[in-house]
Each structure stands twice: as structure tokens, then as C-alpha cells.
């Protein structure tokens, strides 16, 4: 395991992937918060023709300079995705094309040109074609120590830049119009952010590949957003998730390649898909299981709320009828037999109900609790008729819902506002709050 970090051959791809993914996952937070995720997709695809043309240029004029290919790749990719960016802006502003149309237009045109140029290259310079092909899905295995230095430098630069302009950046991301009114020049910041975004895409391409690059930008940010409401921590977590998925994805692809290789044929799994799979799997997991925002916990809270509503409805019913069998309760409350029995058993256990001769009755404590529900229901009815002027016949249904929602704080405010009323609009008494 430790070999992945220090072994002279293995360490370069490992560190390279981690540094690349660090830059892209940090820039991804910005793209994600600006709701421009599709832009990164278009820009990464738009870089491809530049790569191919750059390599073709090198192949034609400097056929022996293969070790400089990566530099040409960087420059070519930067140039062509910058062109793509201007193209998108031009289409939106001057061409009056809708943003999504402009994005997909640039994506397909540029990538198409890249593919055509690549096949031309395959015919004329087959050995160079591999350099280009590699960038479609990413290939980390051939990285060397010089890549660590370059990618490390870029990652450091991005981190330092983000720390330096953190505050203006936060202001522009949250409220661009206001930031402008303060004199924070959004255009300047935007230009530098776009340049950094392009650089991080291009750098990341080497390990993740053109096609999946936007997944690497967005997935860590999506995951990070699920765990926190603080922007600095979103950045930190996103970077952490990016680096983590790079490491795990890279190791998986190397181990997988070794596992399936035979002495006769070397088998090589591309790095990119593995990294992106790891990071998107983590994003998916986070969307489901993050404590506050995760879908699973939200469903659990919704379910718990439903059970509470059922419990309060049973309390209210028994408050009026004194006693009832579980069969009657089931016919009255639209709920599954299972959850009804579960709630009834829980209410007995908590001391709100007691079972007498097969039917349920409220305990003394249960009676108090039920009176409170009725109180909230009737208070809300009074509020609707007196303060909001709704007709008396139409307030019951709404109060059926609100009785489960009103908090003690809201109750107190209602009591104060309505001068602690004694009767509801249907001339029923409102149970007092302190009737022990």
C-alpha cells in the first residue's frame, strides 16, 4: 500500500491523480454553486480538438520531441477550450441562443472536430495517436515525477488563490449584483476563475479523461454540500473527497489491471472511469445518507411525522369518545393496520393509553396530551376566522393539519394575539393550557 506513495514508478501516477483531483474538486465547488455544471462538461469536451491539433503539430514538425507532448497537450487544450468558452459567450450574448443550446452546440462541434482530427492523425502518425487517445478516458500509469511537480504547482496555486480571494469570491457567488455595487469587480474575478477552471480541467484530463472530467468537477462538490452549510467546509470536504476518490480509483484501476493481466497479454484499465465511479458513488451515497439533507433521513423524518400525526389523531378521537376498539380506530384513520398497531402499542408503553376489555382508553396523562392537541386545533380555527376572515364552515380541514404543526412558541403567540379565547368558532370550549 505504502508503495503507491513512495515507489519511484508507482508514486507519480498516485500523486499526479490526487493533485489533479484536488484542483478540479475545488474549482468544482464554484461551478456547482453558480449552477453552471454543464459549462464544465462543454469546456472539457471543447479542449479535445486543441489537444489533437497540438500533437499533430508536434508530430509533423518535431517528430523526435515526444517527451514534450504533454506540454503541447496543455497549451492546445487551454487554447481550444478558451475558444469554446468565448464561443458559448458569443452565442448567448450576440446570437441570442439559449444557454443550454449554446453549451451543447459548442460541446458537439468541438468534440466532433477533435474526433475527425484524431482519426486523421491515426492514419498519418499512428504512434502519436496513442497520446491523444489516452486523453479520452485518462491514463495515469505513464506519468513521471515531472508531472507531480507541475500538477503540484498548479494545485498549490489554486488553493492559494482561493484563500486569497475567498471573501470577494463568496460575495460574488452569493449575490453578484450586490458585490458589484460594492465595487468588487466581478468581471476580473470571473476571468481569473475561468482561467483556473480551464487549467484544472486540462490538468485533470490526464487522469480522468475528457469525457468524464465534468463528473470529477461536480461529484465531490455535490457530496460535500450535503454535509455542511459553511462555505469553507464545503471547499475543504470537496477537496478531501476529490483526493480520496483519486487515490481509491487509481489503486482500483492498477490492481484491476494486474489482476486481469496474463503473461501473454498486458491488460490495462483506464484510470478515469474508476476515479469518477468512486467519486460519483460517494456523491450518491451522500445524497441518500447525509445526516441533515440526505434522502433517507428525510424519508425517515417524514415517516416519523406521519406516525406522530396518527398518534395525535388517536388521542383526539379518544378524547371525544372516551374509549374505542382498535377496529373502530382502523376504520376511521386511513393508515395501515401494521402502523396503527405499532402506534397503539407505543402509546400504551409511553403511558398515554391503557387497554381495558379489548378497547383503548386514555390515561390521565394521555387526557392532558389529547386536550393540548384539541386546544391547538381550536385555537387555529379561531385564528383563521377572526384574524384571517375565513368562513366558519371552512376552517376545520385546515386546522386538522395545523394541529400537528404548531409549536409551543406559535401557540403562545396565538394565545396572546387572540387574548386566550375560551370558545372556538363552532362554540366548542377550548381546553385551557394549564388545566392540571
Amino acid at each position: 500500500m505504502i508503495d503507491y506513495f513512495i515507489d519511484p514508478i508507482l508514486r507519480a501516477p498516485t500523486w499526479g491523480c490526487m493533485l489533479m483531483c484536488l484542483s478540479s474538486s475545488l474549482m468544482g465547488v464554484i461551478v456547482f454553486l453558480r449552477k453552471k455544471s454543464l459549462l464544465s462538461e462543454s469546456l472539457s469536451h471543447a479542449s479535445y480538438p486543441g489537444v489533437v491539433l497540438g500533437v499533430a503539430f508536434l508530430a509533423s514538425f518535431f517528430p523526435f520531441a515526444e517527451e514534450w507532448a504533454f506540454l503541447v497537450v496543455l497549451i492546445g487544450a487551454f487554447g481550444s477550450s478558451l475558444l469554446g468558452l468565448y464561443g458559448i459567450e458569443w452565442l448567448e450574448k450576440k446570437g441570442k441562443v439559449f444557454p443550454d443550446a449554446a453549451l451543447s452546440f459548442i460541446l458537439s462541434v468541438f468534440f466532433g472536430v477533435g474526433i475527425v482530427a484524431a482519426s486523421a492523425l491515426q492514419g498519418s502518425h499512428p504512434s502519436w495517436f496513442k497520446q491523444v487517445q489516452m486523453l479520452i478516458f485518462g491514463q495515469a500509469a505513464t506519468m513521471t515525477d515531472i508531472h507531480i511537480v507541475i500538477y503540484g504547482f498548479l494545485a498549490c496555486f489554486i488553493v492559494l488563490f482561493l484563500i486569497a480571494v475567498y471573501r470577494p469570491l463568496q460575495a460574488v457567488l452569493f449575490d453578484a449584483g450586490y458585490a458589484h455595487s460594492l465595487g468588487i469587480r466581478a468581471t476580473w474575478l470571473e476571468r481569473s476563475l475561468f482561467s483556473l477552471l480551464l487549467i484544472s480541467i486540462i490538468v485533470g484530463m490526464r487522469s480522468v479523461g475528457v469525457i468524464l472530467m465534468s463528473g470529477m468537477l461536480i461529484a465531490p462538490a455535490v457530496a460535500a454540500r450535503q454535509y455542511t452549510n459553511r462555505l469553507p467546509i464545503v471547499f475543504f470536504l470537496s477537496g478531501l473527497f476529490g483526493v480520496g476518490s483519486a487515490l481509491i480509483g487509481h489503486i482500483l484501476s492498477v490492481e484491476g489491471s494486474l489482476h486481469w493481466s496474463t503473461p501473454e497479454s498486458r491488460f490495462s484499465l483506464p484510470t478515469g472511469p474508476f476515479i469518477v465511479l468512486v467519486s460519483t458513488a460517494w456523491a450518491l451515497f451522500s445524497l441518500c445518507f447525509a445526516p441533515k439533507r440526505g434522502v433517507v433521513f428525510r424519508l425517515a423524518r417524514i415517516f416519523a411525522f406521519r406516525l406522530r400525526c396518527l398518534q395525535e389523531n388517536i388521542l383526539k378521537y379518544l378524547w371525544k369518545k372516551k374509549s374505542s376498539s382498535s377496529k373502530d380506530l382502523h376504520s376511521l384513520h386511513r393508515s395501515s393496520l401494521f402502523s396503527l398497531h405499532w402506534v397503539l402499542r407505543r402509546m400504551v408503553r409511553h403511558g398515554w393509553l391503557q387497554k381495558k376489555c379489548g378497547s383503548y382508553e386514555l390515561t390521565g396523562d394521555g387526557y392532558q396530551k389529547a386536550a393540548q392537541v384539541v386546544r391547538l386545533h381550536r385555537l387555529w380555527e379561531v385564528y383563521l376566522t377572526h384574524s384571517l376572515g375565513r368562513e366558519v364552515e371552512r376552517v376545520h380541514k385546515n386546522a386538522e393539519e395545523m394541529e400537528h404543526i404548531l409549536t409551543p412558541d406559535l401557540e403562545q403567540r396565538l394565545t396572546l394575539l387572540l387574548a386566550n379565547p375560551k370558545k372556538d368558532p363552532h362554540h366548542q370550549p377550548i381546553p385551557d393550557k394549564y388545566s392540571l
Partner: protein, 255 residues
């Protein structure tokens, strides 16, 4: 007259439609001014043009006889509440602290004094206990108070507020107006884009009636009259409408 807010023959277009057409005015200091007109009358665009967020097609608009870039520090903009993403990962205190970013410059850090000022501003608008809340937890009225606190912390001479009372309960609205009247007594000038006609006479000293053209402006008691309101909220004369839209299309090369 010593005008604090002044415009001359201002024209603003959004793509093919004119939003402000030949608008000229000068407004003195120390007033609470309502900018009133129907939807799409260019009220927000007037503020945006004044702040340099929208580039006018022609004419000029300025504060204190100076271009906007010189006086930014003296102006607090309160954008429409719906213009930002309230799910953004940021706390109430940090939003208020943004009011000081203009003075901090690019690489500045907030000092203790800035934090104290932000806390005080939250206290003034009655939100001291919400300082560390995530902004999505705030109600509509609280979000609006938050924006107001952010403007206060800038300590401006001029407030430009875009529909601060939409989605705000009546108590909050009255409280905000009281706070602003207090600011006015300290010599601040406040411009509010407003669309609720019944409260205009109660809130504002001056009023600007806007419907692409500036219909009238001046002291509320003189200007806020049935004839002017009919002009503002009635359909614009069709010939004017057509001519203005033709003009905009010609300018942007569609005709």
C-alpha cells in the same frame, strides 16, 4: 438645487425592449423617495443603471454629481430578495459582514470592529439571535431584515432598495419603515422601489411615478394624484409603445 441623485435623458434597453426612455430628474438630499409604477415599468432597471449593473444606451445617471465608481462606498444597494439563492452555504452574520467587503478590498480580512458592527446591525433589525443560522432557515421577513442589516453595516449616505416589502409580513414592513425614517432623520437619502399603492402616502416624502417614461416626480402630496396615477398605470399610448420598440430594434440591429 443640490441634487443627490440626478439623471439626464437616460435610455436603457433590454435586448429588443426599451425599459427606460428619456428619463431625467434631480432629487435633493434627506428624503424618503418611493419609486412607483406597474410591473415591467423599469423600476429595478433604474436602480441597476444607477449602480452601473446595467449599461445605459445613452444619457447619464449619477449620485452627488459624480460617476458611480467614485461614490460606491456611500451607496448601499438592497437587491430583490428573490435574486439570490437562499440555499447558499452561508450564515446570517457572514451575509451582513459582506457589507464591509467593499472597504476591505481584494485581500482584506474582517477585523474585530467589522464583526462587532455586523452583530450590532443584526441587533438593530431585531435578529441578534439568528447570527449563526444558515440563511435557508430564515423566513421571508427575516431574510429581508438581513439584507437591511447588510446595508446598515455599510454606513451609507444613500440607500437603494428594490421591493423590500415583497413577501414580508405587515409588522416587519412597519418596523423597516420606522428604521428607515430614523436613518432619514440622520440625513440619509432612501430610494425604495415600491408597488403597494395604499401605503405610498404614508411612507414617502417624495414619489417618482415611472412607466418606462418618468410620468412625474416630486413631493408625494403634489404628485400622487389620480391624473398622474392613471397615466402611470393606464396602458401606454399605443403609438408611443410601438415607436419605442421600433427604436430599440433599430438600435440593436434587428430592423
Amino acid at each position: 438645487m443640490d441634487a443627490i441623485f440626478h439623471a439626464e435623458e437616460l435610455n436603457v434597453n433590454y435586448e429588443r425592449t426599451p425599459v427606460l426612455w428619456d428619463v431625467s430628474f434631480s432629487i435633493p438630499k434627506g428624503l424618503l423617495v418611493g419609486i412607483v409604477g406597474p410591473n415591467g415599468a423599469g423600476k429595478s432597471s433604474l436602480l441597476k443603471a444607477a449602480l452601473g449593473l446595467v449599461k445605459p444606451l445613452s444619457g447619464k445617471i449619477e449620485f452627488l454629481q459624480q460617476p458611480i465608481s467614485r461614490v460606491r462606498q456611500k451607496i448601499a444597494y438592497v437587491p430583490q430578495r428573490q435574486s439570490v439563492d437562499w440555499d447558499f452555504p452561508i450564515t446570517a452574520l457572514q451575509v451582513v459582514l459582506m457589507g464591509r467587503y467593499g472597504k476591505m478590498g481584494w485581500f482584506g480580512r474582517p477585523r474585530r470592529a467589522d464583526r462587532e458592527a455586523a452583530k450590532k446591525a443584526l441587533e438593530v433589525v431585531g435578529m441578534a439571535s439568528y447570527a449563526d443560522r444558515q440563511i435557508s432557515e430564515l423566513s421571508g421577513g427575516q431574510q429581508q431584515r438581513l439584507f437591511l442589516a447588510r446595508a446598515f453595516v455599510q454606513n451609507p449616505d444613500i440607500f437603494l432598495m428594490d421591493e423590500p416589502f415583497t413577501g414580508v409580513d405587515l409588522t416587519t414592513e412597519k418596523e423597516i419603515i420606522e428604521l428607515l425614517k430614523k436613518q432619514k432623520q440622520e440625513g440619509k437619502t432612501i430610494f425604495i422601489v415600491h408597488h403597494d399603492l395604499p401605503t405610498v402616502e404614508e411612507y414617502f416624502d417624495w414619489v417618482m411615478l415611472l412607466n418606462t417614461r418618468l410620468i412625474a416626480y416630486g413631493p408625494t402630496s403634489e404628485i400622487f394624484q389620480a391624473a398622474n396615477l392613471a397615466k402611470t398605470f393606464g396602458k401606454m399610448p399605443t403609438v408611443f409603445d410601438e415607436a419605442a420598440s421600433l427604436c430599440a430594434k433599430k438600435m440593436s440591429g434587428y430592423l
